[in-house]
Amino acid sequence: MTAGSIAARGLVRLPVWRARIVLLALIGAFAALTARALYLQAVRTDFLQEKGDARYSRVLEMPATRGRIMDRYGEALAVSTPVKSIWAIPADVQLKSAQRKSLARLLGVSARELDRKLAEPERDFVYLRRQLEPETAEAIARLGLPGIYEQREYRRYYPAGEVTAQLLGFTDVEDVGQEGLELAYEQSLGGTRGSRRVIKDRLGHVVEDVQSIRAAQDGVDLTLSIDSKIQSIAFAALKAAVERHRAKAGALVALAVQTGEVLALANVPSYNPNNRAQLSGAELRNRVITDLFEPGSTLKPFTIALALESGKVTPQTIVATAPGRMTLAHYTIRDVHPAAALSVTQVLQKSSNIGAAKLALAMPREALWDFYDRLGFGRAPQLGFPGAAAGRLRPFRSWRPIEQATMAYGHGISVSLIQLARAYTIFAGDGELVPLTLVKSELAAHGEKLVSAGTARAVRAMLEAAVQPGGTGPRARIVGWRVAGKTGTAHKQENGGYAADKYIASFVGLAPVSAPRVIIAVMLDEPAGDYYGGSVAAPVFAEVMQATLRLLGVPHDAPLEPLEQPAGDAPREST
């Protein structure tokens, strides 16, 4: 008997409630499904969407490249280039002995050192080597070792090395500026990293850009006012002089007169910014900008300029300097070469302390203070360089006559070399104090006019006389161009007093005198043996100035005859 036949004959009657139960069960199941769907779609949709996105959408970091630093002609001085850092998850690393050997060789470490780094299974992140050449990193990647990964980083290279070290500064391992211009211009050089959301396929390729969260902004290149050729010559000359005179340190700065641009800025001792393993504070210092010293006689031209400006004296006015000694309140000012009387020109030429002191004492102290203040002494120069020193210029109310006198020849006041060089711009032009810049600017700079054009020319003529035979700095002269400048020799300050046998020798000068283009200031700290500015610093000035004028193509303004050095010793300035 078949089921069909039973149904056909209506023999079996199934109870109705069974059909109802099935129907109810089906309705219940559908209701449950609908409720679940509603719950998922309406209540948990955000969470689920997020989980779904997480399977294929990624946020990518967009690194920003650090801007390059270039000299005025576009020569690269600092460039960031990608390097790889190799890191490992120690627990995941399983190395065969051959693999271990080749990895250690590529990393440039011994196999034992590598083992030591990998022997810390509880750590889950170990740098094996940071900042490796991309080629080496690729070779490591080719080994295909488990648990070893690479990470892209940037490293900064400085092709000029020690020549520009203190000026440029350096960046840390994350390529963030730490010193010098790298720090000063961090904002614009660094740029900002961006990020964007993308969709990735199964193989990890980016297939679609969903949205740009933040566009990456590459750092802006920085073009400096530095001329790398002059910089290189200046550094070499300074380094040679520091070695020859066994000095503790040296500094040099060269300025373009019309634009106020810094053409060269050199410091010795220096360091190699590409390899900073052994670095000391002395090497890091940018002495030109951050170190203060008592300038000594290099300050005399300003005293004389103010005296001329006041109209009380002319270059020919005679100042009594006999007998070469002058006592003011238990303190004696001395001249090395005592003379009965000197003209104002000769005061500068022979660098007479008494002459300068007498000129200063004839003026009110307010006028002197005001002039020094307007020259920028006691105020940090607006260079944007970190740690620029302000110098020390005491308020005139606390000056005693002796201080007013010593300040006339550069004692009791401290300045940085760049402040001193900048102050000389009033003699190079027609009395204008030019604002300085470390960034290239083609425009002529205009500054505050401090003295009349006549005074500026008169002092320039005196400064030219000071480097002629009979002056204190004949070794500053060069063949083909007229130069003008002033030597300085000062006792070094130590523990609140002056050290008897430690000196700072300096020279500040400009050329060519007929139409000045360049100012160079040189300073040597604690030269051993000969310590006079005229014999230690002036030759460095001459060497660098000659090369600079030649490189800039400045027309000659002096006959091209070999220079005759005066027989015997040149007059020396008093300290």
Binding site: T65, A76, V79, T81, P159, A160, V206, S232
Partner: protein, 90 residues
């Protein structure tokens, strides 16, 4: 009625295929764009490296050393140098 439905179905299928194709094309173009971006980045890095190299080889101290040492060149005596003023009128 059935004919219209069939026609609409055919249009729908065609549209769907078109969408898939254009999506595929878009992704291909996008990945090409990505590759070019990457290439541009690589070229920029390369440029930086070449600048670095040029600057390293062209260091004034190195040029001066080779000029003076290997080639035996020297700065001419100032008397043998004649400076010509540039004529701005021309």
């Amino acid at each position: 009625m059935a004919k219209l439905n069939l026609l609409l179905l055919a249009v729908l299928v065609a549209c769907a295929l078109g969408l898939v194709t254009s999506q595929h094309k878009a992704r291909k173009l996008f990945s090409a764009l990505e590759r070019e971006h990457e290439h541009a980045r690589e070229l920029d890095v390369e440029y930086g490296r070449l600048q670095l190299e040029a600057s390293t080889w062209g260091q004034h101290s190195r040029v001066a050393r080779i000029a003076a040492g290997t080639l035996g060149l020297r700065v001419p005596d100032a008397r043998r140098v004649r400076l010509l003023a540039r004529d701005n009128a021309q």
